[in-house]
Amino acid sequence: MVTVGSWTLLGISSLVLDDWNLAQLAQYMAYGIFAMGLAFIWGQAGLLSFGQAIFFGIGGYSVGLVALGHLPLLGSSTMCGFLLALLLPGCVSYALGRILFLGKGLSGAYFAIVTLCAAVVVETLAQQWSFIGGFNGLLGIPPLGAPWRTAVDGYLTPVEDYLFMLAVAVLVFLGLLGVVRSPIGTVLAAIRDNDQRTAFFGYDVSRFKVWAFVVSAVISGLAGGLFVTQFGFVAPSLIGFGLSTEVLIWVAVGGRNVLMAAFLGALLVRSVEGALSDRLGNFWLLALGVLFVVTVVLMPNGLFGRILALPPPRRFRDTRTAIKLKRGTKV
């Protein structure tokens, strides 16, 4: 109920807010999608990734490079850019995931620290690589076009743009929710709670981890691509350690176990930051840090986690299924 209500409220706000605020909110939507990607791998599969912005940045750079025509083979269509923004993070995360999880595999803290190091390395490389703009990044990336409009600057109006972002966010939400509530989601939750026991049940734990990592990377890449079309430029700060840790804060503050809570956490923190950071200056980051520590220590479910938690999937509620499972009959 609350979940549907929140989405409706976000939809209604397109009628109420002025253009500037809508544009801001559309940007935060991209961050929100990013946060859902992280909440999926962290809250559901229990993998704490300190390098999620690597994929956000790759997505952003892909869209930017294609839109500016730096990759002549691919032309300069937005479609192509987004395809690359999904494909590239997927491939990178698959390779990284295979290296890290297959075989002996890494667990918990090691994964966090390795991803942290990877984020720092990638950011350093992005700053040095002149093809993608070095320190300055890529400027002048066009916003999303509206093919049905024949005018010279056929871009989406702020309201259309906002609604588009909202629609993508809803789709991502529903898609991830579908995975989370499916049997696959249950296996991921089991891996989170005790990966050894899950392995004893015959599940290939490392394969599940790799694919969860890929899904979350693809979502992050999509979010990065969308963000760049909203923001107009892409810089090394989008790919590095700083953003990776910021998104952790949003998700932790919102609620890591619930996708919707993570999404709203990103929206909330960014909106409050937009409203207050000018007035508070340095004290804003201080307050955010304190809020972060307090939520981690006292409220592991975050601010919204409890309100937005959904009831368990039907197959766990149906007692007859449970009895059948107990008897060992096929369901």
Binding site: G46, L48, I99, L100, K104, L106, G108, A109, Y110, A112, I113, V114, L116, C117, A118, V120, V121, T124, L125, Q128, F241, T245, L248, I249, A252, N282, F283, L285, L286, L288, G289, V290, F292, V293, V296, V297, L298, P300
Partner: protein, 284 residues
């Protein structure tokens, strides 16, 4: 020859400074199973103690006294307010201490400003050693680091307190049932670890540019040292810092600092992947 000597001295001084940060981290990790992301900020606060002392106009040496006192206090406060609530929540400990590091860093920015501060070296001028001229102050750093880490090793392996600490690392419940006050031990260890990181910061301040980001610059190599060397033992920390610092100094001398960072991180990730228990740990 002179190149080799300079390289060796550079490696040694970097390694010893890194060792001071790593030792605190290793003991806190081994004892409390807490990955302390705020350790870099303890180092940072130590460096800013020097800035403060210099602003007041006192001699540099007072900072070496002030830094451990301030940091032990900070360590006790942090332990009391946050760390003790999250002992059994491993992943949360990473997040919470990282939040603390944000808060401490931001406090430093508010008090001292975000720009880099320079600190005068208390022992200016070079000395002649093995045929090369080398800054005298760096030799002083090495001396301090050797003294402190030897003291740590002695404390850890030759005293009843060290025995108690090692006992708790090996089996907390057993140690507690034998009458060791683990709570007090945790608190003391955390404070001492913070204090040593503070001294390291104060000692390193004159040869680094002191700015609010310097903590992370030391934290990541320290973590890598622990993971590469093998967590849980001081010997692992020693090996790890040796590997990390020699690679990083060597590569940054031959190429650039950026290349060094990339090479060190990539190598460490590979080592961590293939030797999850570190290069000193036994293979499972």
């Amino acid at each position: 020859m002179t190149f080799a000597v300079t390289l060796g001295l550079d490696t040694l001084s970097f390694m010893l400074a890194l060792l001071l940060v790593t030792l605190g981290l290793v003991v806190i990790f081994g004892l409390m199973n807490v990955i302390n992301m705020a350790h870099g900020e303890f180092f940072l606060i130590g460096a800013y103690c020097v800035v403060l002392i210099q602003k007041i106009g006192l001699s540099y040496w007072w900072a070496l006294l002030l830094a451990p006192i301030v940091l032990i206090a900070v360590g006790l406060i942090v332990e009391e307010l946050v760390i003790r609530h999250i002992y059994r929540r491993f992943i949360d400990s990473i997040l919470a201490t990282w939040g603390i590091s944000l808060v401490l860093k931001q406090l430093i920015v508010i008090v001292f400003g975000a720009t880099a501060q320079s600190v005068d070296s208390p022992i200016p001028g070079p000395v002649e050693i093995l045929g090369v001229t080398y800054p005298a102050y760096r030799l002083f750093i090495m001396g301090v680091a050797i003294a402190l880490s030897s003291a740590m090793f002695l404390l850890f392996y030759r005293t009843p307190i060290g025995l108690a600490v090692r006992g708790v690392i090996a089996n907390r419940a057993m140690a507690a049932s034998l009458g060791i006050n683990t709570r007090r031990l945790d608190r003391a260890t955390f404070a001492i670890g913070a204090g040593i990181a503070g001294v390291a910061g104060a000692v390193m301040a004159p040869i680094m540019s002191v700015d609010p980001q310097m903590g992370v610059g030391f934290l990541i190599p320290a973590f890598l040292s622990i993971l590469v060397g093998g967590s849980g033992t001081l010997l692992g920390a020693l090996t790890g810092t040796a590997v990390i610092s020699s690679t990083s100094v060597l590569v940054s001398d031959v190429w650039t600092q950026v290349v060094a960072q990339v090479v060190v991180f990539t190598l460490s990730i590979l080592v961590i992947r293939f030797f999850p228990r570190g290069i000193t740990g036994r293979r499972s």
